[in-house]
């Protein structure tokens, strides 16, 4: 596993280095699909320059990174390209290993007994599973979205690395590290808060605590985890206060994420709505849109409480689609996990449509941007249409995987070839 992974890393690093040195890097770092006001590298440099001039970087609307990012880049600003390549390579390695550990944990033989005989083909054999970690690494490293995000030096790569470390520590079962990385991820952008639920479910599963509201051990574990999480979040926030000596960063970072003042077009859903919103209704719709991100946590975790790893995937996808300033870097993170569920392929219904739409939209984004901004013959509706279509395709992809997952579970319980009472073949209908 190490050798092919190294080869893959070499290829990925070469591709990125080649792109860094070419003239495309500046073009890419200005694309709105790849960088957002939260993650743009230009703003990081601007913030550091303001700091050198003795001005707080959070004055004005330029800089929206957290103080720990300031600290990191203060020392690494000259080695930025290497930093981002290392973070991308690191997160891919982390993700590979976490898949590996996840699979090693799965006891194949034990599971085989539980299911009806004709379902054996549904269960993955170790031979199939052998190449999946490598495929995951490949999906993350060689995904054009990741490459674009890395070449643009968007700090999304760092956020993804932290989330990957969080998932690794959760799967390893280390409660403290999981809480710490989750608080770091939440500190960077608020939305990973929703990953609390799958983390809790997984850790409880690992420690054989039944998920039952009446059990004391359940609540005790939640209290422990919440204490560690909130405590480390509090410590990190206080530490950030001591970096610059002021609380300026709170409205600049979290106020910015939550109140969405910057309406630069991106691949998300917020900008168009809020550009044409009356001020009177702005707060209401802001709440609606932000709740939309957090809303799916509880229903999904109730449904998927036996399968927290899939819940993490779903949650990541929901965050990437519905967050206030999404970029292609966020999308590449959850797409990296798709090979893990390659056994669901036989149940996916819309894979062709989704992949065509995603490819077409990715190609159309720069075209319609050019037509709108430079040629002037289109307008924002064109670009937003493609944004909408892109997000619809992503939602379709995610819901398709969800459907396939549920269907596989159903088959594992009731057998693969369903028969009605009179023996004829039955069909499964999703209601």
């Amino acid at each position: 596993m190490a050798a092919p992974l190294t080869l893959l890393l070499l290829v990925a690093v070469t591709v990125r280095a080649a792109l860094f040195r070419s003239s495309l890097s500046e073009l890419i770092s200005e694309r709105v699909e790849v960088v957002s006001p939260l993650t743009a590298w230009k703003r990081v440099i601007e913030g550091l320059a303001l700091l050198d001039l003795g001005v707080s970087p959070y004055s004005g609307d330029v800089f929206h990174e957290t103080p720990l990012t300031i600290y990191l880049f203060h020392f690494l600003v000259d080695y930025a390209e290497v930093t981002f390549m290392v973070s991308v390579a690191g997160s891919s390695v982390v993700v590979t290993y976490l898949i590996l550990f996840q699979f090693r944990k799965q006891k194949f033989a034990l599971e085989a007994d539980r299911y009806p005989l004709d379902c054996l083909e549904l269960i993955r054999s170790p031979k199939e599973m052998y190449y999946i970690p490598l495929k995951v690494a490949m999906f993350y490293l060689l995904n054009p979205f990741t490459i674009l995000s890395c070449v643009a030096k968007s700090t999304c790569g760092l956020n993804n690395a932290i989330i990957a470390l969080f998932i690794l520590s959760t799967i390893k079962g280390n409660v403290l590290l999981s809480a710490i990385f989750l608080s770091l991820a939440t500190y960077q952008s608020i939305y990973p808060l929703t990953l609390c639920a799958p983390a809790l479910l997984y850790l409880m599963q690992r420690q054989y605590i039944p998920v039952n509201f009446r059990r004391a051990s359940f609540w005790w574990f939640i209290v422990q985890y919440a204490f560690m999480y909130l405590g480390s979040l509090f410590v990190i926030i206080c530490l950030s206060f001591f970096l610059l000596g002021s609380w300026d960063y709170l409205p600049s970072v979290y106020g910015f994420i939550l109140s969405v003042p910057d309406l630069t077009p991106n691949i998300g859903l917020f900008w168009y709505f809020f550009a044409e919103m009356f001020e009177h209704f702005r707060l209401f719709f802001l709440c609606v849109f932000q709740i939309n991100v957090f809303f799916y946590t509880i229903p999904l975790s109730i449904k998927l409480k036996e399968h927290p790893v899939f819940l993490i995937f779903m949650q990541l996808a929901v965050i990437s689609i519905f967050k206030s300033y999404p970029t292609v870097g966020d999308i590449s993170l959850y797409m990296a996990f798709l090979p893990v569920w390659s056994h669901l392929h036989r149940f996916l219904r819309n894979i062709f449509l989704v992949s065509c739409v995603l490819l077409a939209c990715s190609a159309l984004f720069p075209v319609l941007w050019h037509l709108w901004i430079y040629a002037g013959s289109a307008n924002s509706n064109f670009y937003y249409a493609i944004t909408l279509l892109f997000n619809v395709a992503q939602i379709l992809l995610v819901s398709d995987y969800f459907y396939a997952f549920l269907r596989r579970e159903h088959h594992l319980t009731y057998g693969l070839y369903l028969k009605r009472k009179d023996g004829s073949e039955a069909t499964l209908v999703l209601k």
Partner: protein, 385 residues
């Protein structure tokens, strides 16, 4: 006994006062010798385009010196024909350096440019000098001098025999300039005027002056070129012209209480350093250049002396006998003592880089180490690998 002491004190007091009085009279003579009450400066850079960076740096260096020595922005008319600090080709944006190794950033953060870009034209320059501006012109763009003003005029750019090029498209001739100064004299718009020009063949520009109280300096004679000082490899252009570079070095040593006079200014940048021969013209100037202080033109030295004595100004000022020595020397404060001279001369801005506070670094790494030992101290390492 007490009355004796009182008489002694009284006598001593009278002597002191007489001593002070004649000192004051003496200094009152010096007080009113220069004849001006306010200072103005008109600093013009006439060339645009990135490779003429040095002209903007020249002008900004003189601006910096003049401002440092006390002339406020309201009395400075700064005209820059191009923006070098925010030029796309500037590898260090928001800076204009006047010395290689980027020692001195003359742009700083309090430069007020009154005429910028295409506003720097011959017509505007002449209108400023003569005061014939439209009524809508704001005060910052006017030269509101009176007959007690000493004006410093500094021009730099590309020039030739008898002309100075503005913006690569027009020129001002020495005849026009001389006529403008005569207009200023007729309208009583200056008390004394110092004209400095740093261009090729600069001496030709002051050849035609004919108004009184004009002193002129130029960086090169007719037929000679003024050369630039040194290129900077990081920025890619020449940063300063030689004459203004040495002028700036000379001016960095001046503080508001300096007693250096014009003869020292004429010695700035001899041929060995400048390659061209700087020239000067003092025949139209009424005072002896040796008695003219540098700060009469470059600074805005307000002469303030605190006194409790009344000075009789209607009588001619005579030199009295020096007072009885000994007795009590009352402490006299001279102007120079009140200034932090060491801070005013050789001002180099301190380039401070931001560093994260030590407490933060300590706290952060302590936490990281704690977490590390918590996870890996307790668990076995073989679970990881």
């Amino acid at each position: 006994y007490v009355r004796g002491i009182f008489k002694n004190l009284h006598g001593w007091f009278i002597n002191c006062l007489r001593y002070l009085f004649c000192c004051f009279q003496d200094r009152a003579g010096q007080f009113f010798s220069s004849g001006h009450t306010n200072n103005w400066a008109v600093l013009v850079c006439t060339s645009r385009f990135w490779f003429n960076y040095r002209h903007v740096a020249n002008t900004l260096s003189v601006y910096r010196s003049v401002k440092r020595l006390g002339i406020p922005d309201s009395h400075i008319v700064l005209m820059l024909a191009d923006d070098m600090a925010c030029n796309h080709r500037n590898p260090k944006p928001a800076t204009v350096f006047s010395h290689k190794n980027m020692e001195l950033n003359v742009y700083g953060d309090d430069v007020e440019v009154d005429y910028r870009g295409y506003e720097v034209t011959v017509e505007n320059f002449l209108r400023i000098l003569t005061g014939r501006l439209p009524p809508s012109t704001p005060r910052s763009k006017r030269l509101l001098s009176d007959d007690r003003s000493n004006i410093l005029i500094y021009l730099t750019g590309h020039g030739g025999n008898g002309f100075l090029k503005f913006q690569d498209s027009e020129e001002i001739s020495n005849v026009e300039l001389a006529d403008a100064f005569e207009q200023m004299w007729q309208k009583r718009r200056y008390n004394e005027l110092l004209f400095i020009i740093d261009t090729c063949q600069g001496a030709s520009m002051y050849e035609r002056f004919y108004s009184p109280n004009l002193m002129a300096l130029a960086s090169s004679q007719v037929g000679e070129d003024s050369l630039s000082h040194q290129p900077d490899l990081a920025i890619g252009v020449h940063l300063m012209d030689r004459y203004t570079f040495y002028l700036l070095e000379f001016l960095e040593d001046i503080h508001p209480a300096s007693k250096t006079n014009m003869n020292d200014l004429f010695k700035v940048c001899p041929k060995s350093q400048c390659v061209s021969t700087p020239g000067h013209r003092t025949d139209l100037f009424l005072r002896d250049p040796g008695s003219v202080l540098i700060t009469d033109f470059f600074g805005s030295v307000r002469k303030v002396e605190l006194t409790m004595e009344t000075i009789n100004l209607t009588d001619p000022i005579e030199q009295l006998e020096s007072a009885e020595s000994g007795e009590l020397q009352k402490e006299m404060h001279t102007y120079a003592d009140q200034l932090p001279v060491s801070e005013i001369i050789h001002q180099k801005p301190k380039q401070k880089d931001w560093h994260p506070p030590d407490g933060f670094i300590l706290g952060l790494w302590t936490l990281i180490l704690l977490v590390f030992f918590q996870t890996y101290g307790v668990k076995h390492l073989k679970h990881i690998f």
